[in-house]
Amino acid sequence: MASPLAHAYLDWAATTPVLPEAVEAMLPFLGERFGNPSGSHAVSREARKALDEARDTVAACLGARPSEIVFTGGGTEADNLAIIGAHAVRPGPTVCSAVEHHAVLHACDALGDSRLGPVDADGVVDLDRLAALLDPSVSVVSVMLANNEVGTIEPLAEVAALVRQRAPHAVVHTDAVQAFPWLDVAALAAPADLVAVSAHKFGGPKGVGALVVRQGVTVRPIIHGGGQEGDRRSGTHNVAGIVAMAAAMRATVDRRQATVDRVRALRDRLADGLLAAVPGCVETVDRATKIAGNCHVSFEGVESEALLVLLDAAGVYGSAGSACASGAVDPSHVLAAMGLSRDRALGALRLSLGPATTDADVDLALAAIPPAVERVRAG
């Protein structure tokens, strides 16, 4: 069970270590500043002040006003609140891309009348075919900013323009969970009415996220209670988590350009190294269309379910499809929507890099993966 001494964590798209800034920011709220921000005395005011400051920071980082921020219990809840909450005030069909995260796909499914927008071989939503799904009855259109499996960046501005024109009653939601560490979400998500983020994807703790709800857009709450968050999300605030998320957001945005430049070079070295060293290795999508931290390849004649066992033993921690609740690997709906053959989808490997990824991580991956692929093929 012991981890190998040298290891390379290349699963940053799954989750990230909490940044020291975030840990430091949250600790007082696990101790002396334990107050419930909804109260009226001094202890509460301490917490309230921290919550207000965190809201200002998060709003600034997301290009929103403080009153437009709804803190949630994570990205999935933010997506659910966006879709189910918006749909509740304007019933009608929902439309989303076929490569959305399950938090969006299954929320749309749960509402019944949902339409799936096809994507091209790079995972980019097909605007013409999306247009064909839009009409004035449509209530919510959800297209992610960046894909969690292959890293593809979606043309959100074009999507939003299309929606305004063809489905004028619809709200536009974007799942920016994977985009936030890499893209200027404040600018790129500006055309969207609703924007979801999750703290643990950018150095914050798990179980906290936010939804931007632009002024003038109404969402009906999906969690009822004390009326916190402007009656949009009840429940006592996770003050420590929210404060930590704000600190992680600030740190991420301040360093984002430098991180992107550095990690892109590492990613390119990793992807180019694999393409050169492993026969039958194919890069899944055009690197020009994706975020800097994502390396997604497939190996001909290899089942990644087996490959991952060898990589795990070698201390290289990556992933295959999207992990399901049991820890099993499910065939990827994203790769299927992109038209990848089943064999290639079963041989897919996602290596996702992050701000703390080093040259040594890439070296270890490049040393471990080619022989592991060879061994699986030989077996």
Partner: protein, 339 residues
């Protein structure tokens, strides 16, 4: 030895893994997802996978989950349905052992550098010159019948650690180790036939079911059935033949959509022909004991390379079922009853 322990989430495979750990082997647990179980309980459900993982937590070993849904569907479920369409009654557990547990899983284990695969089957392997497959020590729990498809190559890389134990001892061991699966009830027979819908619902979702005529040996219609594909030779109930003499299904002709019925005496045969023979070591002829289902009492018989001749009369064995040949405790091999 590096051992991959197949762990279903049940008590037998939990204890199998525990015994290997106690013996000092380098053990990794794996749970196979063979079937997209839509419910929260039963084989391949998240609950079962959780149970297996909790056992590995107690044992301090790694746990993997592998998805073999496609192979299971293609190698076990589809053939099971297709066989019913031809009036056959297959044993899917045997095909699962042949193709999944001791096929796909064993191949992948070897690929990844494991020396052996262990399961919780009640059976024993003894090696003296070659590998012999023996009945489990607990006669009531013996599962050697569903393992006759294993040959020397497979047996060399299989371990059945609970095969020498009684079920009572297995449960006692699980309790002594504090394994969370100690009290779990024994598993059902066919894992993918859900209790809610049953065999009928599964087959109806895969093959067309046809109403049919029930005829006697003179060709006279004596009843009707809703679906000939659901009738198994030997069956007495549900043939729509009303009162009077007891009649049993003798044969099912799905193409003609008829079920032939007869008396209890008509049901008895003196021999049965086997196809798709498998031998644990080498082909055997002569005096054997033949076992015609997982928990049937073995009967004395002779085998001539193609037909099993029973000593005395024997109740008809449905086409598609396996007949396993033993000598004493030892599995020699077996085959499938032809149409």
């Amino acid at each position: 030895m590096k051992v991959l322990a197949a762990m279903s989430g049940g008590v037998d495979s939990s204890v199998a893994a525990a015994l290997l750990v106690e013996e000092g082997h380098d053990v990794t647990g794996v749970t196979l997802r063979l079937w997209d179980n839509p419910t929260d309980a039963g084989c391949c459900s998240v609950t079962e996978i959780d149970d297996a993982r909790r056992v590995t937590n107690v044992l301090g070993i790694d746990h993997l989950v592998w998805t073999f849904v496609d192979e299971f569907d293609g190698r076990v479920v589809e053939p099971y349905a297709a066989a019913h369409a031809q009036g056959l009654t297959p044993n899917p557990c045997i095909e699962c052992n042949r193709h999944l547990k001791f096929g796909r899983l064993l191949r992948r284990a070897t690929q990844l550098g494991f020396d052996a695969v262990a399961t919780g089957h009640h059976a024993r392997v003894v090696t003296d010159g070659h590998h012999r497959l023996l009945r489990g020590a607990d006669a009531r729990k013996d599962q050697s019948y569903v393992l006759y498809v294993l040959g020397q190559e497979e047996l060399a890389r299989c371990r059945f650690p609970v095969g020498t134990m009684t079920k009572t001892a297995v449960r006692a061991k699980a309790a002594a180790l504090g394994l969370p699966t100690a009290e779990k009830p024994d598993s059902q027979d066919v894992c993918f036939v859900t209790t809610s819908g049953g065999r009928r619902a599964l087959l109806a979702s895969r093959i067309p079911l046809h109403p049919g005529r029930v005829v006697d040996r003179t060709g006279a219609e004596v009843g009707r059935v809703e679906a000939v594909e659901l009738v198994t030779p030997g069956q007495r109930r549900g043939l729509g033949t009303g009162g009077g003499d007891r009649r049993y299904a003798l044969a099912v002709d799905t193409a003609a959509r008829t079920v032939l019925v007869g008396s209890a005496a008509d049901l008895e045969v003196d021999s049965v022909a086997l196809d798709q023979l498998c031998w644990v070591h080498e082909p055997v002829e002569g005096e054997v004991e033949a076992q015609t289902s997982a928990h049937a009492v073995p009967v004395e018989a002779t085998f001539d390379g193609a037909r099993v001749r029973f000593r005395g009369r024997h109740r008809r064995v449905a086409p598609g079922q396996s007949v396993v040949l033993y000598r004493g405790e030892e599995v020699l091999g077996g085959g499938i009853v032809g149409a």
